[in-house]
């Protein structure tokens, strides 16, 4: 056990260093600016949380964006009613998202397999449709819920803190935009990562994996698996709520499209891309997809021509001609292709790819830890 703990601490330390150093090592990749760094951390949290449900129990939720959205709304309401400080907002969001997840999870977990997926999808779509239209008094619909000067902010009022000029969320005076916002999100990510690691290693985590490998057998032994699955569902809902709160904290605006089923699909893509069931994979997947969305989509003809200007002109035309359908407005296409390739050839995600590469170079290396992180896809799914 002591060895395990030490191992975990090493992993955690490396993870923390890598995350906190992102502004430095992402700079050459063109991604070292606060907003994208914040997004890497936030969607990393979202994906790590999603992985606790999907990676461990095998329940594929297609409605997780709803919890993210609810978390965002709760956070913005906290900024409006309580305080511009992010602490109450984060706590409120986690609680609200957790409660919401408990209700939806309680209903959805009565079914498994694809039925579970459809149920979560249905709930998320209902949330989205209502938030966009009928619930506009709460969500401010298409325009998105924003912090306004006229909002009461009870706590700030009591403490005599008065927002001057532009309304910016803060952590006891530290502004949550820019790099300080990123470090706050990164701290949350590291905490979230730590919890996820503890959960995976705990008896509770073992139980969840057992649900995945064979639910029927579990219930034959007289074991009621549902409370465990529900706990996993709620925990991952809380992670989503935290991610939503951080989105709102770094950028105090919550829009309904965060809850659309395509947004739920996105977190599935992230998790699978990186490697479901692994610790680091979901974070990696989230980073890659956000990188695509923000950097790849911005390559235009002009930028491409500049990038390849070292080539002779005729070659430059050919290269730019071949690449341009895949970048800029074609970034969705690239995403689709990459995603298909991953699912076809590396169902365990990029982490499996790394493992295979690692196996090529080292002869041995199959300790207990490695097997634990093995891809979920390689194991039979019980749900169907």
């Amino acid at each position: 056990m002591a060895k395990f703990l030490r191992n975990d601490l090493v992993v955690l330390a490396i993870f923390a260093v890598v995350v906190l150093a992102m502004p430095i090592w992402l700079q050459p990749l063109g991604a070292g600016y606060p907003d994208l760094l914040q997004r890497f951390a936030i969607y990393g949290i979202f994906a790590i949380g999603f992985n606790i449900l999907f990676g461990l129990t095998g329940y594929l939720s297609f409605g997780h964006a709803a919890f993210l959205g609810v978390g965002s709304y709760a956070a913005v309401w906290s900024f409006k009613l309580l305080s511009l400080n992010v602490i109450p907002a984060v706590m409120l969001s986690i609680v609200v998202a957790g409660l919401f997840a408990a209700v939806i999870g309680f209903i959805c977990l009565r079914r498994s397999g694809i039925y579970f997926s459809i149920l979560t999808l249905a709930f998320a779509q209902m949330s989205y449709n209502l938030a966009y239209s009928v619930l506009t008094p709460i969500t401010n619909g298409e325009t998105g819920l924003r912090v306004l000067r006229a909002d009461p902010r009870v706590i700030d009022g009591m403490l005599g803190v008065d927002a001057k000029g532009v309304l910016v969320t803060d952590l006891f005076g530290i502004s949550m935009s820019g790099y300080s916002g990123f470090y706050f999100c990164a701290a949350m990510l590291i905490i979230g990562f730590f919890f996820a690691m503890r959960i995976m290693r705990s008896p509770f985590g073992m139980m969840l994996k057992a649900i995945k490998s064979n639910q029927n057998r579990m219930s034959y032994t007289g074991f009621n698996t549902r409370p465990y699955a529900l706990a996993a569902f709620v925990i991952s809902g809380m992670y989503a709520g935290l991610a939503g709160a951080l989105l709102a904290a770094t950028d105090p605006l919550a829009g309904a499209e965060r809850m659309q089923w395509t947004a739920s699909g996105e977190v599935v893509l992230m998790t699978i891309l990186g490697g479901a069931g692994t610790l680091v994979g979901p974070f990696l997947g989230a980073g890659i997809i956000k990188y695509f969305e923000n950097i790849f989509s911005a390559f235009n003809q002009q930028a491409l021509n500049q990038a390849f200007s070292f080539l002779p002109e005729w070659l430059q035309d050919i290269v730019v001609g071949v690449i341009s359908p895949f970048v800029g407005e074609g970034w969705h296409l690239t995403l689709g292709v990459v995603f298909m390739l991953i699912v076809i050839f590396l169902p365990g995600g990029l982490m499996e790819g790394f493992r295979r590469l690692g196996r090529l170079f080292t002869s041995g290396g199959n300790g207990p830890d490695r097997r634990k992180a093995a891809s979920p896809a390689a194991q039979p799914q019980a749900a169907e």
Partner: protein, 338 residues
Amino acid sequence: MDAIVLQILNGLDKGGAYALIALGLTLIFGTLGVVNFAHGALFMLGAFCAVSFKKLLTLAEVTKVPSDLGFPVTKEVFYLEKWFGQTGLTIIDFAVPLAILISIPVMILIGLAMERGLVRHFYKRPHAEQILVTFGLAIVLQEIIKAIFGANPIPTPAPQFVSGSANIGEWLGLGQFVVYPWWRLIYLLFSLSVLAAVFSFLRFTTWGMVVRAGMQDRETVGLLGINIQKRFTIVFALAAVVAGLAGVMYTPILPPDYHMGMEFLVLSFVVVVVGGMGSLPGAVAAGFLLGILQSFASMNEVKSIFPGIDQIIIYLVAVIILLVRPRGLLGRKGVMET
């Protein structure tokens, strides 16, 4: 009364489209055991068969004419019009119905390619992976269509003589305001006949019997020495054709764009689940049922009691059905019932 008749017609019409897409989905699931998230894309590709066919018919001789705008504008004369005069224009007018003939072989090819190239390798893999890979395929297909045809909807009207509406109020003795577009009536009839054709094909031919047997028990049929694999490939092609035809005929109702498949995908999944996974009659019944429910939910009288009900009715029904009767309306006992 008038309103109810019209809403039932609306529901049947929508239901026809849902049923056609859901039928293919459930057929693929029942035989191949594959959850095909690219099925909406097949519907979209069908619609774009009609668009491409119309583009083909309206190929035009382009000449640059100087204009007072400061740059030459292009003037287009359709080759068909140039060669055949009025007859050519009539052919163009009938682009959508004619596209059916083109779309059948095209959709068969697409279906075969998809099954052989991709889906086949996923028979034994978990449903989650099937969903993901076909979802990826759907994204790729729609982005290709967008790269070729752009993102805007493309008008593909029905032939002139059926573009108006039928005065069904007079036939039924309901008054002059009960009218319904001819094309939608045609669509309803069309979807019913395609459904009938598929059902009789599966019921009355030996070929279909084997497929149905395969749906019940794949292993035993395989043991009988029948090449079930090959039949399943053809089943996939058949499902692709059905979805494609639904798409072709839908173009005059909904000017097609690259994203239409995704919009129908979620709905048709709900239809399949409500009807019962793998149940063909279930898919059809649920398609029509949900279509009608959706129409009624959007009536003002209903909305004034339940605000926003038209936004969520489909999902609400799905949730209730899944909780109360998880095998779906007409699903077989024991199939996917956990």
